[in-house]
Symmetry: C2
Subunit: 304 residues, 2 copies
């Protein structure tokens, strides 16, 4: 019974962090971690645990997902999310949805109540209405901090990852439940000032999210385009299944060697079928937290 | 110097085919194959070859892509396409685009002229306008045959793969050029009467399309949802790279074992870095054609 979550990776420096802000981030991570772990302890599934952990991260305004989503070029919040069940490889995902309070709930509904894996844009929103998925007004997603980020990005006509320091705003969770089932979930608000309906790795099964009981569950955060081209999440699984590597070895190769070679900054959280946890990243920092098989809790932001 | 293309897989039966119709399909395949091969012969890149071959398949009204795209639930044509360069793993893709004459040209423009891999919907169309990608009116995509398919599907409120017989309408191409570079491209008009902005495997790098000079180039056609969950194209590559399998062995495992177990009907075309060609499918038939390293041309529809 283990769980690991992330709130994004990137150039997160101690020098630009206050004690108060750091405490807030840690509180946000802790709340999400406990929400997922409570489900696991009560005998719930890893699928429910990652869904609820990600929903809490979406509700936390400092992470770029759900409520805390950045503004796109049109001044809207265009969100992506995905979830996968390692037990049967079922999966659900949404891309470019607007006004959905918790995109991860919609991804779960796509998995449970449609014949599809990935729904996008207005179509996905129509499905959400049919499924009674909670919506939220523009006000709910409004955040003065995010608005200022967008205004600055607009002025310079640049597309920005997240924050003034380069951060890949994504949240995610992976877990193994009492019965040994693995699951993974990821959600993001995308890139500040993003245009052209850009879709990153977060809603893509195999790239940003993957789970398979025989190998591992993975949720990524990083420069989405590079993570797509490297099919990161499934690559970890394949290195374990086909090459016989441990989760730790597979993570090291993908994050510190393969991704680095192509300039793919970021990281991921992963658990394997034996309950091992890995939270590797090749950036300055990654908001991350876990509770391992012995019940030991870890909450970290920087490299050390 | 090799090329292989497909025009979709599924329940294609001799009993429901006329000689005249079969000749038309074979002509369509031959034209696209020759368009790509002509580029390879003149020293062009595999990337240009697969792009042009797919563009010809998009222009051919009997295949479900580009001009021949099926009607979605709203009576529109919502198309997806992707392309990948095995030389540097660069890739471009679009999903849910309307009114674009050749979606594969737009996917190529995303690869060449944006920082992104996947653009969707209206945003992708705005990018197309900026890049002067040719558009086409509703009339161009209108086809009485497709319209009747849609009307029938509407009546029964069902989402249909393609044709009255169950066919997965997708086109694709893979090639190796004189310098040994591999490339893959895929394009589709989706599912008749499809709702909710459904996205299949065709625009997803790793699922429907993948190319890597060290292993292989793959373009898939089949039940998209299952192909996404199985990360089919990248799985072939991983089985070769990590398990040391031949292209033929990898294709057999993925198409005839792994996909079949989860009900994933369909097939793919693939070439490896030595110029071997594979065109496996687990359905009744697959429109396919190839020219191998000895210049031998093959055009086939059924199993035998």
């Amino acid at each position: 019974m283990v769980i690991a979550i992330h709130g994004g990776a990137g150039t997160i420096l101690r020098s630009s962090m206050t004690d108060e802000l750091q405490a807030q981030y840690e509180q946000g991570l802790n709340d999400a971690l406990e929400a997922g772990y409570t489900i696991l302890k009560s005998g719930g599934s890893s699928l429910d645990a990652v869904e609820q952990a990600v929903a809490r991260l979406e509700d936390f305004p400092l992470f770029n997902a759900g409520k805390g989503s950045v503004f796109n070029n049109a001044g809207k919040h265009e969100m992506d999310a995905s979830i996968m069940n390692g037990k049967d490889l079922s999966a659900g995902a949404v891309s470019g949805v607007n006004g959905i309070r918790n995109p991860i709930f919609l991804a779960r509904a796509v998995m449970d109540h449609s014949e599809h894996v990935l729904l996008s844009g207005k179509g996905a929103e129509a499905f959400a209405a049919q499924q009674n998925i909670a919506t939220a007004s523009e006000d709910y997603f409004y955040n003065e901090f995010r608005y200022q980020q967008w205004q600055e990005a607009l002025k310079e006509d640049r597309v920005q990852m997240d924050h003034s320091d380069k951060k890949f705003g994504t949240v995610g969770a992976v877990a193994m439940d009492k019965t040994g089932n693995l699951a993974a979930a990821t959600s993001t608000g995308g890139m500040t000032n993003k245009k052209f309906g850009r879709v990153g790795d977060s809603p893509l099964i195999g790239a940003g999210t993957y789970a398979n009981n025989h190998t591992c569950a993975v949720s990524c955060t990083g420069h989405g385009e590079l993570f797509i081209r490297a099919v990161v999440a499934y690559d970890i699984s394949c290195l374990m299944e086909y090459k016989g590597l441990s989760l730790s070895e597979a993570c090291a190769i993908v994050v510190h060697d393969k991704l680095k070679k192509i300039g793919g900054e970021g990281g991921l959280v992963a658990v394997d079928s034996k309950g091992h946890i890995e939270m590797p990243f090749n950036s300055e920092g990654m908001y991350r937290a876990s509770i391992d098989a012995d019940g030991k809790k870890t909450i970290k932001i920087y490299k050390d």
